[in-house]
């Protein structure tokens, strides 16, 4: 689990608008990096490019052996390594409505990794327990709170054992108390050796959990700072 994320000169053009103009970014294993900036600065775009959900115009994204090049997003058949190693937690609610909390978490391991239902269920229960939502295992997404849904989404991303976890505005649906708890959870994930890149505009949250902050301004990264300095 010691792979670092390297983003070099990332440029994204959407129509006539240049969203990102040469972004450089490094996240080391065990490190929590907060990607900050005002709304519309391109935080989500950067995350989506790294997750191979959107194409980028120039630059390079490398995560260990997996390298993404400018141009069209490669077909999913060529992204298996990336999907196994990069987890993503979206902004808002993207749990699968028709499945229980438990089934949301076990879906990918049973169908993508070919785990037995027994093994997937055991892992899922362990993860849900560690995130404090085990008691909601049999509930459906619309029956749980925003904070619980957030933690289930994290469990769903973590069950595949990714080395890099991308999170888009994880605190948007949380009250201050829950934010503190989430920060603790993320620190724990980093302590286990994962790299975390978190897009947020919540300064308090960034301060509570990030090792470093990268601020997007006019499509570029402002000089790096550490939140605790």
């Amino acid at each position: 689990m010691s792979i670092a994320l390297e983003v070099r000169a990332l440029e994204v053009v959407r129509g006539k608008r240049t969203v990102l103009r040469g972004v450089d970014l490094d996240v080391a294993p065990g490190e929590v990096c907060a990607l900050m900036g005002p709304s519309g600065a391109g935080k989500s775009t950067a995350l989506r490019a790294i997750a191979a959900l959107e194409p980028f115009t120039a630059g390079r994204i490398a995560f260990g052996e997996v390298v993404l090049d400018p141009g069209r997003v490669p077909p999913e058949s060529r992204l298996r390594e990336l999907r196994r190693n990069v987890g993503m937690v979206f902004q808002g609610h993207t749990l699968f409505d028709h499945l229980t909390v438990l089934d949301n978490v076990t879906l990918a391991p049973t169908h993508v990794l070919g785990w037995t239902a027994e093994r997937a269920t055991k892992e899922a229960h362990a993860l849900l327990t560690s995130l404090g939502v085990e008691h909601r295992a049999n509930a459906y997404p619309r029956e749980i709170s925003g904070g619980e849904a957030q933690r289930v989404a994290i469990a769903r991303a973590l069950v595949l054992g990714p080395s890099l976890l991308l999170m888009d505005e994880p605190t948007s649906a949380l009250d201050p108390e829950r934010r503190g708890a989430l920060a603790t959870t993320l620190r724990e994930l980093a302590r286990q050796g994962r790299a975390l890149l978190i897009a947020t505009h919540d300064v308090e949250f960034a301060r509570a959990c990030a090792d470093k902050v990268a601020t997007l301004q006019d499509g570029r990264i402002a000089p790096a700072t550490t939140p605790k300095s």
């Binding site: 959900l53 058949s77 999907r83 990069v86 990918a108 991303a157």
Partner: protein, 497 residues
């Protein structure tokens, strides 16, 4: 009140009623100077056909008979086109004074309407392919064989009776042309119809089948009047009897090539009999509801099985089309869109005709299979639109979440997008199925006797739509309501899960 005064008031009221009624009937039947009569020119010569020299006029021996009645009444005949199966009902509701077009006499007809004396005697004759003429001499020889006829006729009733007695398989048509075409093509093994129609078809097709000499039954053509119009009927009877006596009717029948010894004998009997003559018609039949229940139940089962099979086909093909339109390459999308638009833009009736009759030289589909295919392929176009819009209604975020978990497009469709889309599609699917259940009545045009057709046959036999119509509606509701309730429950269950 003084008796004299009271009787004067009653007389005035009676006069008013008569006046109002007279005005009403004048309005309803288009003026007293005309004798409006209804017939079906689609039936063709020698009954009623559009005059090739002037297609706005009609000609045929029924046209002559109507003309004789009109002129005998001192009126001008005026023809009203009406579908053959609706002539009797239209007469009763006052659309015209009388209906004529090879209308068969029967006890049921006489019980519910005013019916003229029989003016023509016909024989129900069996037509078979020339090679079969030695082995299929009568209905008894046709056990488990398909015998075609026109629905809602005496011949059809004979076949239904023969089905019970000797296992003949009756095949009902909506017209009297296709049965003979299908006989020659080998789709049916025999045709039972009036000798006038059989001989006409023999001339039209120039052979390919023979008409067996022994008649299965004898019947009579009559003119039908509204039940309340018995006085008009009596006048018509007097006129008909006079035209039988003075040879005018014989002359017309000779012109149309339908005069024979049987007519001469029939005329002689009619003129010898007293004026209260009523024909025996097709003979007595049990016409209580219970007698029709087994055939209605069978027809309902056919409707249900046909609808279920068609819907299953529509769901499978529709899902394929929807998947092709959402995921397929450009050329596939264009081809599937074209299919959907062509199917939705043309009547299902036309599609059934093309499948059954149009393609018969290439592939001869059995009627039931053609019906399932026709309805299934038609509804597939509608289903595909339901599924396509349901698939496209699933938020992109759900699909992206599935992608980041490493689910392939197929797995995403099967595990995430499909199940969620199904929930959205369930309500429109239920509506479509109920619509299909009702649209299945269209397949009677390709000889499948389903619930509505059986009801029409029942209604024609008993001479009323009231009881058969209500019964038919109850059966349709009994089939569609539980489905709607079940689907609603399923929808509720899926939305809570």
């Amino acid at each position: 009140m003084f008796p004299a005064m009271r009787s004067a008031l009653v007389a005035t009221a009676a006069a008013l009623v008569v006046l109002v009624t007279a005005c009403g009937s004048r309005d309803a039947t288009g003026g007293t100077q005309e004798f409006r009569w209804g017939g079906d020119a689609e039936g063709g010569a020698p009954f009623v056909e559009a005059d090739p020299a002037d297609p706005t006029r009609v000609r045929g021996f029924d046209v002559d008979v109507a003309g004789m009645i009109a002129h005998g009444l001192g009126r001008e005949p005026r023809f009203v086109q009406v579908q053959w199966a609706s002539i009797v009902a239209s007469t009763e509701r006052g659309d015209f004074h009388a209906g004529l077009s090879g209308i068969e006499d029967s006890r049921e007809l006489r019980e519910r309407h005013s019916v003229s004396l029989p003016y023509f005697e016909f024989r129900e004759v069996l037509a078979v392919r020339a090679v079969d003429s030695a082995r299929f001499r009568g209905l008894r020889d046709l056990a488990r064989r398909r015998v075609a006829t026109l629905g809602s006729t005496m011949a059809y009733q004979i076949l239904v009776d023969a089905q019970r007695q000797s296992g003949v398989v009756p095949v009902s048509y909506d017209d009297d042309v296709h049965p003979y075409g299908d006989l020659v093509a080998g789709r049916v093994d025999a045709v039972l119809l009036d000798h006038v129609i059989a001989e006409r078809s023999l001339r039209r097709l120039g052979g390919g089948f023979v008409v067996q000499p022994n008649a299965a039954a004898t019947g009579y053509y009559v003119a039908v009047f509204a039940r309340a119009d018995s006085a008009l009927r009596d006048s018509a009877n007097a006129i008909l009897r006079a035209r039988m006596a003075d040879g005018a009717l014989e002359q017309s029948f000779r012109t149309w090539g339908v005069w024979d010894a049987a007519q001469a004998a029939h005329f002689a009997r009619t003129l010898a009999a007293d004026s209260s003559l009523t024909s025996a018609g097709a003979g007595a039949r049990d016409q209580s509801i219970t007698a029709y229940l087994p055939s209605l139940a069978r027809a309902a089962a056919i409707t249900l099985v046909l609808s279920c099979l068609s819907m299953a086909l529509a769901v499978i093909i529709g899902a394929g089309i929807a998947a092709g339109r959402v995921y397929g390459p450009r050329m596939v999308r264009i081809a599937l869109t074209a299919y959907v638009e062509v199917i939705r833009g043309t009547p299902v009736l036309l599609q059934l005709f093309v499948l059954y009759y149009g393609l018969s030289s290439v592939v001869r589909l059995p009627a039931f299979l053609a019906a399932v295919l026709g309805l299934g392929l038609n509804y597939a176009a509608y289903e595909s639109e339901v599924y396509r819009s349901a698939l496209e209604a699933i938020p992109r975020a759900q699909l992206e979440a599935a992608r980041t978990l490493g689910l392939s497009e197929w797995l995403t469709l099967r595990l995430v997008r499909g199940p969620q889309a199904l929930r959205l599609a369930l309500a429109p699917m239920t509506n479509d199925f109920v619509a299909l259940l009702k649209d299945s009545s269209l397949v009677s045009v390709i000889t499948v006797v389903e619930l509505t057709k059986q009801t029409a046959i029942y209604a024609t036999n008993v001479g009323s739509w009231l009881v058969p119509g209500v019964l038919c509606a109850i059966v349709y509701l009994a089939m569609s309501l539980p489905l709607s309730l079940y689907a609603r429950r399923l929808e509720r269950r899926l939305s809570t899960s």
